[in-house]
């Protein structure tokens, strides 16, 4: 399933990267806010659910090659993080739901 299809099904809102979401495959899901933990355990093409919207999250997303970041519970995205995400083709979405709710919905789709 592509990130675009996932966004439509889960009614997520794009913060950046909408134009590349049709070409990015999402194959799994990982939840976590401790960046080193996520970096070592998230798999390539995972949808990463987190409340961490700082610039270091973008570094982790790039290195771990996740499909996208979903900021849950309307967690904020820092301006410098958004800039870095745009530079590095990182797709970021947001939702008011919590990570458990989104993960359980993703598990029915992927």
């Amino acid at each position: 399933m592509t990130v675009k299809q996932l966004q439509e099904k889960l009614e997520l809102t794009f913060l950046c990267g909408e134009e590349i979401a049709e070409n990015r495959e999402a194959e799994g899901c990982y939840c976590g806010d401790l960046l080193s933990w996520v970096m070592s355990r998230a798999s390539e093409n995972d949808v990463w659910l987190t409340v961490m919207g700082n610039i270091n999250s973008i570094g982790v997303a790039v290195l771990a090659d996740v499909a996208c970041i979903v900021l849950t519970e309307n967690a904020s995205l820092d301006e410098d993080a958004k800039k870095r995400a745009l530079e590095n083709d990182v797709i970021i979405l947001t939702t008011s739901k919590n990570s458990y709710q989104i993960a359980s919905e993703i598990s029915k789709l992927i």
Partner: protein, 140 residues
């Protein structure tokens, strides 16, 4: 035969720059055609090293030598050193301050992650002088 040598300086105060060296190394290794898992392992190890330099080391330097069968990395800082290396190598042990934890770091995973993603890891450290970590990732 050595393919490429890379050198980076890491700022001791700026978290926003952490990830630049690892990002560039990742790009270089990809362009040279190294397998995806090797690229990821090297990038993660270097990123953890960069973060450690910002949190603890007051900045430092990263040198990478890329050859077809081995990627050698040297992470060097002139920070406070590590008083107890075996303790620092334990997952979950951290001396990071609260402001660093609020950014999502300081989980006590840095050095264990570096070890996990490399084939050789040598830590040379002296309290009050600094720390040098020598790493090797073998391609085959």
């Amino acid at each position: 035969m050595e393919l490429l040598s890379l050198h980076y300086e890491v700022s001791g105060t700026d978290f926003t720059c952490a990830g630049e060296a690892s990002g560039k190394i990742k790009k270089n290794l990809k362009e040279l055609g190294f397998p995806t898992n090797i690229v990821r392992n090297v990038a993660i190890a270097v990123y953890e090293g960069e973060i450690n330099m910002v949190i603890h080391g007051g900045g430092g330097v990263i040198d990478v030598e890329i050859s077809p069968d081995c990627i050698s990395i040297v992470l060097a800082d002139q920070g406070p050193g590590i008083p107890d290396v075996s303790l620092a190598m334990q997952e979950g042990y951290s001396t990071a301050p609260d402001n660093v934890r609020q950014l999502g770091f300081g989980a006590g995973m840095g050095l264990p992650n570096i070890k996990k993603y490399t084939d050789e890891m040598i830590i040379e450290t002296e309290v009050g002088k600094g720390t040098t970590i020598k790493l090797k990732v073998f391609v085959n």
